[in-house]
Each structure stands twice: as C-alpha cells, then as structure tokens.
C-alpha cells in the first residue's frame, strides 16, 4: 500500500519531496520515519527533483562484464557530473541503475529512460 502510494506521488510530482512524504505518512497514518525508510530503500524512488535530462548506466552483471564501469567513468568525464549525484550539473545527471533486462544491448546506457544502442568505450 505504502509503496503504491509512493509510486503514484512520484508520478505526479516527479520526485518525493519531504513535504510529500510527510503528507503520505499523515494520509496512511504511518510513522514518518517508516515512510522515509521505505522511500530511501528503493532506488526507483527519487528523493530529490530530477534534472531535466538523465543518463542512466546499467550495472547489471552482463553490463559490468561488457564494460559498464568504464562507460560510466567516460560519461562522468563527458558530462562533468559525479555518478549518482541526483543534482548533477543542473541539466544532466548520471545514475547507475540495476538490470533493466536489456542485456543483449550490454552495456546499456539510458537517456531519459530510453535505452541507447551503444558500443563499449
């Protein structure tokens, strides 16, 4: 129930702000600490507003074997942002993600949620 509501709120607002989490806790009559604990546990919940553009790099087993780490380091340099820093440079952010099931494309790189055909760097 809590997770469903969090998903819904994130779809509405783009991320889960502290105010949103407090409102969810009130609505579901749950302790705020528990709501924050659950929201921060799952990577798919964003606690900070997303940047306009997001670059995701899959760190699933297949992608790691096909050079995901090097790809991520390369993208860090190109974009000039730190990995897994949700604020990024204000326009782009770089996040590492878990397997999305597109292992045939490994290493998988997503731009704004869309997998790209990439080659190993």
């Amino acid at each position: 129930m809590l997770i469903e509501v969090l998903h819904q709120r994130q779809q509405q607002h783009g991320h889960l702000s502290r105010d949103t989490l407090a409102a969810v806790a009130r609505q579901l009559q749950l302790p705020p600490a528990e709501v924050y604990g659950v929201a921060s546990f799952y990577h798919l919940f964003r606690l900070q507003p997303p940047t306009p553009h997001r670059c995701g790099i899959c760190f699933g087993t297949a992608c790691v074997l096909r050079g995901a780490a090097a790809l991520a380091a390369d993208q860090e340099q190109r974009l000039g942002v730190r990995r897994d820093d949700p604020a990024g440079d204000g326009v782009w952010s770089l996040e590492t993600i878990s397997c999305i099931g597109a292992c045939a494309l490994a290493p998988v790189l997503l731009i704004d949620g869309v997998p790209q055909r990439t080659v190993a760097p």
Binding site: R18, A33, Y36, G37, S40, F41
Partner: protein
C-alpha cells in the same frame, strides 16, 4: 503448554515448544554474545552472533528466531561457529568507527564485551572509516552515528514499547543508517517523548545521555 526436550552441546534441557532456541541455551547454561537481541523486544536476527549448528539443518541457524522442537540437537561452540562469530564482530568494528579508547561507552559497551568474548585481539579485515555524523540536536541525548551498529534495538523499543516510532533505518546495504523522523535532526522530531528508552537499550555508545546538560528534576505533568 507442551514441553519439548532438546540437547544443547549434549546436555538435555526442557523448554516450552516453540520457544526460541536462545531460551534452551540459557536453560543449558550457555550464553552467547548477542547484540540485536533484547529480551523485551521482538527478535530480528540481525547480528547473527547467536548462530548455532542444528543437527540436520543445512546451515547454522540464529537461535533468537528459531523455534525449539522435540529432539533437536544443537552445537553452540564448534570451530566454525567460533570463527564466524569472531569475523562478525570484526566486521562490525571495521564497518563503523569504534575507537574504544575515546568512547563514552568504554567499559559499558556490549560490542566491546562481544569482542572480548569472541577473543578478537585484532581486526583482520580492512576498516572502512566511513564519514558519519553526530546528531546533537536533542536537548538530553546524543546520537553518534560512528558507533551505530544498526542493531535496530532503538527502532524497536520506540515502536513496540514507547509507541512513538521516532526511529527507522534508511537507505540500504553499506549506506544503511539510522534516521529520526523524516531524516530530520532528532531534536526536531516532535513525536519523540524524550523517554530515553532508545538510549537505555543501545548496545554501544551510539545513543548516550548528554554529559554537557545537567539533568533537572522532572517538573511534573
């Protein structure tokens, strides 16, 4: 209530059916070091220090959450268990920042006691030296994340006994940390009743009474 008989290190003991194995160990006079277990709180089997070997089980089982059943045979002090216990304590020391010599809990710390019990004379795994914070926002108590071993006793006592539910665990894996409210400074969480139960159950020096604030008499309700 049905009583079952089982063997702890060869000694026959009788406990109520379904009681945690830890109770059978106590009946047999065996005390294992435990960190997450607290007799008044629900068990979570987080610290894994009470692992015992149960005949017929494919792997060691945590005695705090395994139910006693008729005819079980337990071993509590095998070389593998001793080695495992010591490694667990070493990992706890390496995971946080635990310099006993400068800790307020020195001499009154269950982690330190556990280290002595398992014979940890040094730590054989690399220290993480994680950068952590100290939360001194509460007027009476102090939370030092460096010394927190994430046993969750404070989370449980606040939820199950005080009913304030100030605490929870946030994030996951190596980044797991204790939070108050919506990851707020402890002093800003208005559901905290300042009862001090979390401080009382904390096995380490992570939650302590502030020494810089003189305790004033309770002003009355």
């Amino acid at each position: 209530m049905a009583v079952v008989t089982l063997h702890v290190d060869g000694m026959a003991v009788a406990v109520p059916a379904g009681a945690p194995l830890l109770q059978a160990l106590t009946a047999a006079g065996v005390t294992l070091p435990t960190l997450c277990h607290h007799p008044r709180l629900s068990p979570v089997a987080a610290c894994r220090l009470c692992l015992v070997e149960l005949e017929g089980a494919p792997r060691p089982v945590p005695a705090c959450v395994t139910a006693a059943a008729e005819g079980q045979r337990l071993a509590t002090d095998t070389p593998a268990l001793r080695q495992g216990r010591r490694l667990i304590v070493e990992l706890l020391f390496a995971e946080g920042n635990h310099p006993c010599a400068v800790c307020v809990a020195d001499g009154d710390c269950e982690l330190q006691d556990a280290a002595q019990r398992v014979g940890m004379d040094r730590v054989t795994v690399p220290y993480r030296h994680p950068p952590r914070q100290v939360d001194a926002s509460h007027p009476l108590f102090l939370l030092d994340h460096h010394r927190c071993i994430l046993c969750s006793r404070c989370v449980r006592v606040c939820d199950e006994i005080e009913g304030a539910h100030v605490w929870a665990m946030a994030e996951r894996g190596g980044r797991t940390r204790l939070i108050a409210g919506l990851d707020q400074p402890w002093g800003a969480v208005d559901s905290c009743t300042s009862c001090g139960k979390c401080v009382a159950v904390c096995p380490t020096g992570a939650l302590v009474t502030r020494e810089d604030v003189p305790l004033s008499p309770w002003p009355g309700p």
